[in-house]
Symmetry: C2
């Protein structure tokens, strides 16, 4: 039974795509030659959408189209086409703040729910590079800038109240994608669910332990309430290392269909949580001829620099009152004593964002090991015992950070704890 | 220069109103007789709108129409007509939860931005009764029920995530009315503004002191950020004793044009703050033949019962999992240890809501004394020295509660502090 779709919608194919693109003069010019010359390849290895690469004599473009269901699961899991709209709106609105870190959008087709955008070459999905142990020297600074600018300028600290509310109106409609996050991140991994999967039997015991862990279940539920009600900034909503494309010198963020006005720490935590997953996964690839020890230290250094760079940049924007905010009005804090008070307040807010970040980072780690959607960093470790050990370490750290985040007041405490978690049972590998 | 209005809009008058109502069969039947028999009286003594009472041989109705400007100020302060839409939407959505405490809505005209509703008789505005020292025995319980049900069932604790987001979409458009709150409650009283007014010269010193009070300015700014970004529940947004109509046995909430998805403590605090203002104002009316001491104790008792009743009812709804919530999922907290943990969590959340309530109550007190819009409870005290003393006491308590709320962990601590504040300088009256 085919799902109903709105009039004018049809899934594109390598056959129908050239005619569609030929109707877009700027795109056609970018490709060059004639439609018959264009090579179309469907590359959607993600979970949700159709993705085509189209190459012509002069250049290439990428076309991403929403399907009326979750591709990973099939028509049994219908999913709104509107996710293409939210992705495009996110990029359109964030463009002034982080344009150089996003793909250029050439065209959006509201009937086909299709985005025609820049073909990122020679970029690869960052996660793939990290599995091979590739360093990205520019990533930490670039991501820190991306996080600080995209989140500051869409928060009440950088955006006028009425424009912020307009974001809530637009993205408040993105309920179906948010529902996926609510279920898969904040709920399923902590209960019996047919959607969960994990390395069995190696993780059976810890999965059961987590399902009985009251402080952990309270902590994840508190984070869920924050995700539901803390309308802090326009967040990407799925900012893991599979949503980042990199070269040695460039970084681009893609796949923004989960965008919503939500907690700032959710995006920052997604980045840090996925870097920690990569850190623990490296032991699955290390061997006599391929030590990953130095690379693991690079990851921990990257984590520290992402947080530190984010916090410093965010604070800097706030101190300079960039943007057009109604929060902490300038004329209430004009003299020196008030200025000093405000500076202390800034740090209080950053500490709160840091705490949120640790919580959401942990949530992201746990869901990728005990929930439905995993990360290939861990899934590709062939030996299940070895994979289970890597995963167990990640779970132990995540549980500790989510329940006892206050024991790790600085980001260096987090990286130290990651190191210790690995060393505690290093003999087992 | 007349303000532009949408086609079809015209301000109603006692002349044009009967013809409009005659076109609404149910309303005409309720009034009885013929349009010529209907007596129309314009009674809008509020700050914003036209309000008509229409009486016919069989019964009466009330008609409230938005003007394209703030009535109190005139055409120099344009204001969206859409506030009528938000008021009607608030009542429509809250009706299932608190219908018996709202006026019945007979008709909404989207072109005229007019609401035809139940004529509340013999109700009076509660504030007017309190100035005369009239007790309303049912009020504390009724208001506790109103607050608990309206806020619980529209919060993430009682409403499914997607439906809650729909509220954010609808009321996220209510930016102009929110702007009034942002400016008049959270900003102006703490800075020099031409819109401010206060009892001068009696309050000149304390007004200047507040403008230099860094902890106070940080506290109010923190509350403002909460108002801007804490999307907790569908709040009324202006729930003072002038938005409540009462008889000995009935209570109705009116005037919901400030409705928005905001912090739960904002509505609860508005009620408590305005009761505290009434408490301090009583000394302006007391005299040898008219002691208000017992009445003041009744007010403090009412404050305690509003909070306690709200908290118990809200907690009860939550414990019974009424509504359809995605927060703290039932299957995560099914066994006894998890249930005990959840119960402790409930109390943690209620303590946070209590702290917010004290903050917002204080904000409401200060803005009514140092800002643009005052309350007649205080304004009608003829002797400026006496008025100034009542107001100073209210300001002192509000400042203490806003900056040091943690010193008042129970509502009885708040009422005790109010009592002490009055007694400290009792000799001056």
């Amino acid at each position: 039974m085919a799902l109903e779709t709105p009039p004018g919608y049809r899934p594109l194919s390598d056959r129908s795509l050239p005619a569609f693109l030929a109707g877009l003069p700027k795109v056609a010019a970018r490709l060059g030659g004639r439609p018959g010359d264009w090579k179309v390849t469907e590359v959607g290895d993600g979970n949700l959408n159709l993705v085509f690469i189209v190459e012509g004599p002069a250049g290439g473009v990428c076309v991403k189209q929403a399907l009326p269901y979750v591709r990973l699961v099939g028509e049994g899991w219908p999913m709104t086409l509107a996710r293409a709209f939210f992705e495009r709106e996110y990029f359109r609105l964030q463009q002034p703040h982080v344009g150089r870190f996003t793909p250029e959008i050439y065209h959006y087709d509201p009937a086909l729910y299709a985005i025609v955008m820049e073909l990122l070459r020679p970029h690869i999905i960052m996660r793939h590079g990290m599995i091979r142990g590739v360093r990205y020297p520019a990533f930490a600074d670039d991501m820190a800038q991306y996080l600080a600018h995209s989140l500051y300028f869409t928060s009440d600290f950088g955006l006028a109240a009425a424009r912020k509310k307009q974001l809530m109106v637009t993205f408040g409609a993105n309920t179906e994608l948010c529902r996926i996050t609510e279920d898969l991140v904040f709920t399923d991994p902590y209960r019996l669910s047919e959607r969960n999967r994990w390395t069995a039997p190696q993780l059976d015991a810890i999965a059961a332990e987590f399902r009985d862990d009251v402080p952990l279940k309270l902590a994840i539920s508190r984070l869920k309430v924050k995700f539901l009600g803390a309308a802090e900034a326009l967040i990407h909503g799925d900012l893991h290392t599979g949503s980042v494309m990199v070269t040695d010198t460039d970084m681009r963020v893609i796949d923004a269909e989960f965008a919503v006005v939500g907690p700032i720490g959710f995006d920052v935590g997604a980045v840090i949580g996925n870097l920690l997953l990569s850190y623990f996964s490296q032991d699955g690839y290390a061997g006599p001829g391929d030590s990953r020890a130095d690379y693991q230290e690079w990851i921990l250094d990257t984590i520290e620099r992402v947080w530190t760079g984010f916090a410093e940049t965010f604070l800097g924007l706030w101190r300079r009152r960039e943007g057009d905010s109604d929060a902490y009005p300038a004329d209430l804090f004009a003299d020196a004593p008030a200025g000093a008070g405000l500076e202390a307040e800034h740090h209080t807010v950053m500490r709160r964002l840091y705490g949120d970040t640790l919580g959401f980072a942990s949530a992201k780690m746990i869901r990728r090991i005990l929930g439905l959607a995993h990360v290939i960093d861990l899934d590709r470790i062939a030996d299940p015992d070895r994979r289970g050990l890597c995963e167990t370490r990640a779970l132990r750290l995540a549980r500790e950070l989510m329940v006892h985040g206050e024991r790790y007041p600085a980001i260096a405490d987090v990286t130290a704890a990651a190191r210790e978690q690995r060393q505690r049972d290093a003999a087992r590998l």
